[in-house]
């Protein structure tokens, strides 16, 4: 059954790339929930994560276990700098102003990355070799297991954080109603800063795990960010589990579309499905209608 194992192969790579879209979508949601901003620099966090990891492990030859946390640390710093110097100084923010600010930041990040890493595409060796593992007639790249495994860990940690810690609960409260949260003594501004830190960190993780599969260059951020945004919207903006489901769905569709229909149209197929879903259910698969209508431009 050649077609059967082919489909298995496409689904495997689809789930892998979909996990990354899901993490990026979670990053969008975390910032969206605490600020109603769509952070168009989210994709650049992913790019910076991948390239920073390459800097530590390939150029400085640090082992993975040290390079990984160091990269996440660098990204949290980038998140802090971005929020303090670009989001927080704006006095009367409107949604469109904030969108343009985050786009400007993404251009800035891209420019910095080009100055630091040059225009070349960089390679990050897979975490545990490249020898494929036979799986139901398909070959499973060990990096796929790393990607899916780390995604599961990130999702579990985030769920625990939002459900069982005081800070996580405070952030959830901000997402539900910012005014009420601030009346309860929650420092909303600090939560905004924290949301940027968290998004930058998990964006960085997405970059680290995907770099061995797709390689990384200074201009890769935009497309990854776009897919992540697509997943966040498809799942219903701000919806945690919707983002994961939609990310995986987009990844698998893209991979099947590329393999079975035409590789040039892979992005178009994923986007077309996204548009159709939005036209049928304007608030995304799991979105609530009121949420979809509340911000005007």
């Amino acid at each position: 059954m050649l077609l059967y194992s082919q489909i298995i192969q496409y689904v495997l790579s689809g789930v892998t790339i979909g996990s990354v879209y899901a993490i990026i979508a979670l990053g969008f949601n975390i910032i969206y929930n605490s600020t109603s901003i769509i952070n168009f620099a989210q994709g650049e966090f992913v790019m910076l994560g991948g390239l920073t990891m390459i800097f530590f492990t390939v150029m400085l030859k640090f082992p993975l276990v040290i390079g990984f946390p160091l990269t996440v640390l660098v990204l949290t710093l980038i998140g802090i700098i971005m929020e303090r110097f670009t989001i927080s100084p704006i006095k009367k923010p409107t949604v469109v102003t904030l969108i343009i600010v985050t786009i400007a930041v993404s251009i800035l990040f891209k420019g910095i990355a080009m100055l630091v890493w040059g225009k070349d595409t960089h390679f990050l060796p897979p975490f545990s070799g490249e020898k494929g593992i036979a799986f139901m007639g398909a070959s499973l790249n060990p990096q796929y297991i790393w990607v899916v495994g780390i995604t599961v860990v990130v999702v579990v940690l985030l769920s625990v954080f939002f459900k069982y810690t005081i800070i996580g609960k405070a952030m959830t409260a901000c997402a539900v109603n910012r005014t009420a949260a601030s009346l309860m003594g929650i420092n909303v501004k600090r939560m905004v800063l924290l949301s940027f830190v968290l998004s930058a960190a998990i964006g960085g993780i997405a970059g680290i795990i995907i770099a061995p599969i797709t390689l990384m260059a200074y201009d890769n951020g935009a497309m990854l960010g776009l897919k992540g945004f697509g997943a966040a919207v498809l799942g219903g903006l701000g919806n945690f589990y919707g983002a994961i489901f939609a990310g995986l769905l987009l990844g698998v569709m893209e991979s099947l579309g590329a393999g079975l229909i035409h590789s040039g149209y892979k992005d178009a197929i994923a986007l077309l499905v996204l548009l159709l879903v939005l036209f049928i259910k304007p608030s995304g698969i799991f979105g609530v209608t009121e949420v979809s209508g509340f911000k005007k431009f």
Binding site: I90, I99, V105, G111, S292, K296
Partner: protein
């Protein structure tokens, strides 16, 4: 159009006529042609964003539809440039109607995503429909357009040609804004529910404005095609769509004049920054960021503020 607008329009026209006599460098004239082309799309987008309050991150698609219709019909099928020009307008408005009906029901970020998706799909189609569009390598050998016996074959002629179009479109837009439709649009921007309650058919009006802005995009696309006489998909991607939105916002969303200022700045700025080589992207991002942080109402908002302070002092 009110008195202030007419006066500004007059001053602009005079400046535009004088410009090529003072600046004879063809490089500057050619940059001004691109300012005009981008300005036409930005004005259309500002009607949609600033007045109707609907975002579109896919307007490069309409620019591309106009450009490709002109290119394919004239270079491959031997159409008359003006025939192709109007076919482009027809195609863009039809596509805008088909895309607009379901999309404009969406709101906020969902609308942003839908228009972005539409723009990307169009871009991919330009790339993949190799038989018609020539794929990534594009279409060359597009004939020049002529008007009243004059072939637009020099930069100077094209400069006047494009800016005449822009002034026409600007006048139309200013009249539209100050008409009943313009007031209705502003009411949608402020509150769609209230506008509906006042008896304005908001969904119809939003689609109409979307179509108008698509037509402006198509016009700019055709003008672009006959100027550079070559089209390839890379000019019509996501980056250009985002650039158009930035032109409108950086210039000042609440005014079509802002769109024109934004288009001028964002077209000329990269030309200046080119000397910085590798630092180009970095400085470009920094300039945009500073404008947005310090002038959240855009450049025109800043100008208005300065002007008002000046008047108070006098």
């Amino acid at each position: 159009m009110d008195k202030k607008d007419s006066l500004t329009l007059l001053i602009l026209t005079v400046c535009l006529v004088i410009f090529p006599f003072i600046v004879t460098n063809t490089y500057y004239i050619s940059t001004m042609v691109f300012v005009g082309i981008n300005g036409i799309i930005a004005i259309g987008l500002s009607l949609l964003m600033g007045y109707a309050g609907q975002i579109s991150i896919g307007h490069a698609a309409f620019f591309g539809l106009g450009a490709y219709t002109s290119a394919v019909l004239t270079a491959k099928l031997g159409f008359h440039p003006w025939g192709a020009f109007f076919m482009g307008i027809l195609l863009s408005s039809c596509v805008a109607l088909i895309i607009g009906i379901p999309s404009l029901k969406l709101k906020g970020h969902y609308l942003a995503m839908a228009t972005l998706g539409f723009g990307e799909i169009t871009y991919i189609v330009f790339n993949e429909l190799t038989d018609i569009t020539g794929g990534p390598s594009g279409i060359g050998g597009i004939p020049k357009i002529s008007l009243a016996g004059y072939t637009m074959n020099t930069d100077i002629k094209y400069y006047f040609f494009v800016w005449a179009f822009l002034l026409l479109i600007l006048t139309l837009s200013l009249n539209l804004i100050h008409s009943r439709i313009g007031r209705a649009l502003r009411s949608i921007h402020d509150s769609e529910v209230a506008a509906n309650a006042m008896g304005i058919n908001t969904s119809k009006l939003k689609i109409q404005v979307f179509m108008i802005s698509a037509v402006f995009g198509s016009v700019a696309g055709s003008l672009y095609t006959h100027y550079v006489t070559f089209v390839s998909p890379s000019s019509f991607g996501l980056f250009f769509s985002i650039l158009l939105v930035m032109m409108v916002v950086i210039g000042g969303m609440h005014s079509v004049w802002g769109a024109l200022i934004g288009a001028t700045l964002l077209t000329i700025l990269p030309e200046f920054l080119r000397a910085l080589k590798d630092f180009e992207i970095f400085v470009y991002g920094a300039v945009l960021l500073l404008i947005m942080i310090f002038l959240p109402r855009g450049l025109i908002g800043g100008l208005e503020y300065l002007f008002n302070r000046l008047i108070k002092k006098v």
